[in-house]
Symmetry: C2
Subunit: 215 residues, 2 copies
């Protein structure tokens, strides 16, 4: 598999997590490329039995395609945790490096990382790490955006790996495990008044709330 094909599989897997059907349009948007480019690549991926594709129909991943995608995600997430816990980088800077290292072809390399980390189940952003067979550990968490006022939650994950967003969380002293108490929910823009770690009071926009996973 080429690096480009691997990136398509990752994008496909990500899109398959939402309710919406996987369409050429959505893939193009996800990857920041044009639709005709996607059309030709999905034909290629279909020929390799990684997806099911028929003109004008919604696209589906095959078991084979999903497995491949999860093995790449495994490499990505193991790398992120290694960069943070072994190499001492921040959770806001590991994603971009992992985007490159996830394409390294070496079982030895990633198995050593896995061993050194003690076969971890979650990455620095709270995302589950598939095992060597592409199986995901069970986990439950929901976006803060669906939460009620007056209740207290624990941050267990973030859905935006972008440096800007995570650096913003850093300035608020938010890390995985931090407590978030919802003081009030504003109906007009769905923003939330929150109390962080029992001390910092601030306002989260709806977008921010959608990107914070809590239990």
């Amino acid at each position: 598999m080429t690096l480009t094909e691997e990136n398509y599989l990752k994008a496909l897997h990500r899109l398959s997590q939402s309710e919406e059907p996987i369409t050429v349009k959505r893939i193009a948007m996800q990857l920041g490329i044009k639709m005709p480019t996607v059309t030709s690549m999905v034909r290629n991926l279909a020929a390799k039995k990684l997806i099911r594709y028929e003109k004008y129909k919604a696209i589906e991943m095959t078991e084979k395609g999903r497995r491949q995608a999860l093995l790449i995600l495994r490499k990505h997430r193991l790398t992120e945790l290694f960069l943070k816990d072994v190499m001492g980088l921040g959770w806001e800077e590991v994603h971009d490096i992992a985007e490159q290292i996830e394409h390294i072809q070496s079982d030895r390399f990633f198995n050593r990382i896995d061993e050194m980390l003690g076969h971890p189940k979650f990455d620095p952003h709270g995302e589950p790490i598939p095992d060597a067979n592409g199986k995901l550990p069970f986990f439950k968490a929901f976006p803060l955006s669906g939460c009620e006022a007056g209740k207290k939650y624990k941050l267990t994950g973030v859905l935006d790996h972008d440096g800007g967003f995570l650096t913003y969380l850093n300035t608020l002293g938010l890390t995985l495990g931090s407590s978030i108490e919802v003081i009030e929910v504003h109906g007009f823009d769905r923003s939330m008044e929150v109390l962080l770690n029992g001390k910092t009071r601030t306002v989260f926009s709806f977008i921010v709330c959608q990107h914070l996973l809590v239990i």
Copy 2:
């Protein structure tokens, strides 16, 4: 620079280390590709001022090209040492992984590796690691192939990074720092009778001797 261009620069640099002029033929052999492919790439590299090239003439690297090559070698060699000393891989398995990781674009990543290793000067094969400006540390060592019978040397480097060769050295208990005493040199095939670490006696072919650096 593309991954391919980076690999050409490394090949060019390696060829520039020998006496022979750099020719299209030698580049093609080094990279295992055909001459016309090389011709078109050297035009490209010349356009980018990384080499000087005129039809039918010997090829030379520019200062810019050499600097780039050394920065890639720096990443390669830092990676090899990191894989061995931090991740516990053997010196016979680090080269192939480093061939991939050397193309990762992230100063942060390689500077952390450099820091964690304490700004090392040599890689697991005894090769000097260029500094962040592309400057090489001074070092002197010569191939065992030029050595005399009756003298005792110390292994300081190997010129073949291939797994097969290094695994062979492992079976002999040879590592950097091992002693090699030359018992006898056979004129007809230039092979050598040697005593390793004061205990193992064996014969090295001329090829093997050429690949062992000693002082």
